[in-house]
């Protein structure tokens, strides 16, 4: 028996969130005795990169190298994972919550008759039955969920587990998937992705700006600060609504939910809808000239002051320290 982990990759690199899923599976197996951790990678990616998945806790990586799978074709990926599940005789699939992972997991759940639990924040409690703690109400609460099926899929929220890095390289085995034309009935005609930048949903540090920055021309200092910190940039909903920043940077209830170690909010008042997107952050810093801004109540550290004055100074202080 094994635990199967569906891993994603982009631009030749396995995603960090997928490595976290591998580490989660590794810890889960130590707890439940479900055997070794087998990762599944789909599409074109280097063998060395796959072997390195072992460091996070996998003993084997199945690689279906069919290049049609490199793009995230939802139906085809769900079929491929179901076939791998069958092959390794798994009872549990672990994956990282993501745009593609969510879409694939839902179809997979029906295919393999498994309960799917999403936004999982810690290892299941198996002392009596099988209970999984997950984040609900956009991070404003948790629910303990009782799983009653034999097969299970756990979609892991970012930072649910410490990333393991001390494992040895995994054996990479090629894996033949049989796919029907209907699996590729939909076509991805183009992909637009910000390249070379830190991706917001996976970033360890996020610097966000709000309407307090007065206009898109002032985002230079946000980007400078993000560059110093190796951070991703985000923004509030009004800022993406008026088109100062692209929609994929919108952090909040109806935008991207982030869970970085450090979230720095600049010129954002802290409406409850914005807070819903950041409340899983480990540490929140708020810079706002209004001492009454509600965001300060949700912050760990704060500076009351004009962003145009504080941010460049902070950037210099960070450069001196880092």
């Amino acid at each position: 028996m094994s635990i199967l982990v569906y891993i994603e990759h982009a631009e030749g690199k396995v995603k960090k969130t997928s490595l976290e899923a591998v580490s989660f599976a590794n810890a889960l197996s130590a707890k439940t005795g479900e055997g070794d951790v087998v990762a599944l990678a789909l599409g074109t990616i280097g063998q060395d990169e796959l072997a390195a998945v072992g460091k996070a806790g996998a003993s084997k990586v199945l690689h279906a190298s069919d290049d049609r799978l490199t793009a995230g074709v939802i139906q085809a990926h769900a079929s491929a994972v179901a076939q791998a599940f069958e092959k390794v005789g798994a009872k549990t699939v672990v994956l990282a919550k993501s745009s593609l992972g969510d879409a694939v997991a839902a179809r997979l759940a029906i295919k393999i008759n498994a309960a799917l639990v999403s936004n999982v924040v810690e290892l299941p409690d198996t002392s009596a039955g099988y209970k999984v703690k997950r984040s609900i109400f956009t991070g404003k609460a948790f629910a303990e969920t009782e799983v009653t099926t034999e097969n299970k899929i756990l979609a892991i929220k970012k930072n649910a587990v410490d990333l393991k890095a001390d494992g040895s390289d995994a054996a990479v085995e090629s894996f033949e998937v049989s796919l029907a034309d209907s699996d590729f009935a939909s076509k991805i005609t183009a992909t637009e992705r910000a390249t070379g930048e830190v991706l917001l949903p996976e970033a360890d540090i996020v610097v966000s700006g709000g309407r307090g920055l007065k206009g898109p021309e002032n985002w230079g200092m946000i980007e400078d600060l993000a560059k110093t910190l190796g951070a991703a940039t985000g923004c509030s909903k009004p800022v993406s609504d008026i088109g100062w920043r692209p929609h994929h940077e919108h952090v909040g209830q109806t935008g991207v939910k982030v869970a970085p170690s450090l979230y720095i909010a600049i010129g954002i008042s802290g409406a409850i809808q914005h807070l819903a997107g950041v409340n899983s952050s480990k540490c929140i810093v708020v810079i706002n000239k209004d001492p009454e801004a509600p965001f300060f109540k949700a912050a760990d550290y704060g500076i009351v002051g004009d962003a145009f004055e504080v941010v460049p100074k902070l950037n210099e202080a960070l450069k001196a320290e880092l």
Partner: protein, 245 residues
């Protein structure tokens, strides 16, 4: 084109989240319920598509009688008829099974819903329904145009988007900016009263993952303020105290 839009009946985004009965039930005291914001985008786009191509727009909710005002609002926004599956939405699998059954019965060309509900944030019902019906499913979809039987979509991915083409029938989990939310006008509100709202029975009781106990996150301590003229203090705190640098 006949369109089905599945909507959730959820607490308003500004609601204070609390639980009752020994943390086993959501406390709805003083809470206002709304159409899920993502579902609202799906509905708005469906109204536009129905107006372009003709056909019928049906809204569906799995819920008890308290969902009726939410369904009436969807009718006021522009849906032609409503179906309520008379049961608590026990878990995603349960809801997907109900939707799949009634969707099959209705023979819809396009099924839209929000990318996720804002209460349980599962984001899985569209994919489950797709697999149950053998239809392709896409989420989160931020643009959707129909040309004949071809559907052109944009799906959000981490740090960008991908453009997709597929054929009807299909299912999409929607999010902004697929359409602007529509506010019902007086004519819509008046006509909603007489549009059909059919209450039907659940087709199965099967569940797989039911929430049994709730918990609030631990309260946050007070913010530590740093003087704006001594930002280096903040750097030290982040490094030595919070240990996040």
């Amino acid at each position: 084109m006949n369109i089905l839009v599945c909507i959730t009946h959820v607490p308003d985004t500004t609601s204070k989240i609390q639980f009752t009965d020994n943390n086993t039930k959501f406390d709805s005291t003083g809470v206002q319920f709304i159409i899920g914001p993502y579902d609202d985008y799906a509905l708005a786009r469906a109204v536009e598509l129905r107006d372009q191509t003709g056909g019928k727009l049906t809204v569906l909710n799995v819920g008890l009688a308290e969902s009726d005002p939410t369904l009436r609002k969807a009718l006021a926004i522009g849906a032609d008829e409503a179906i309520r599956v008379n049961s608590e939405p026990k878990d995603s699998f349960f809801v997907a099974k109900q939707i799949a059954h009634y969707a099959k019965e209705g023979g819809y060309d396009l099924i839209l819903m929000g990318r996720e509900s804002i209460d349980f944030n599962g984001g899985m019902v569209h994919g489950m329904v797709g697999e149950l019906l053998g239809m392709p499913s896409f989420s989160p979809v931020m643009k959707l145009d129909v040309e004949g039987t071809t559907v052109k979509m944009a799906r959000e991915i981490e740090g960008g988007k991908e453009m997709l083409e597929a054929s009807l029938p299909l299912i999409a989990g929607c999010q902004e900016p697929i359409a602007e939310w529509k506010i019902p006008n007086m004519r819509g509100i008046m006509s909603a009263r007489t549009k059909p709202l059919n209450v039907v029975n659940p087709v199965t009781d099967e569940t797989q993952a039911v929430a049994t106990q709730y918990q609030l996150p631990p309260a946050k301590g007070a913010v530590k303020l740093v003087d704006k003229d001594h930002v280096e203090e903040l750097v030290k705190l982040l490094k030595n105290e919070a240990k996040v640098l």
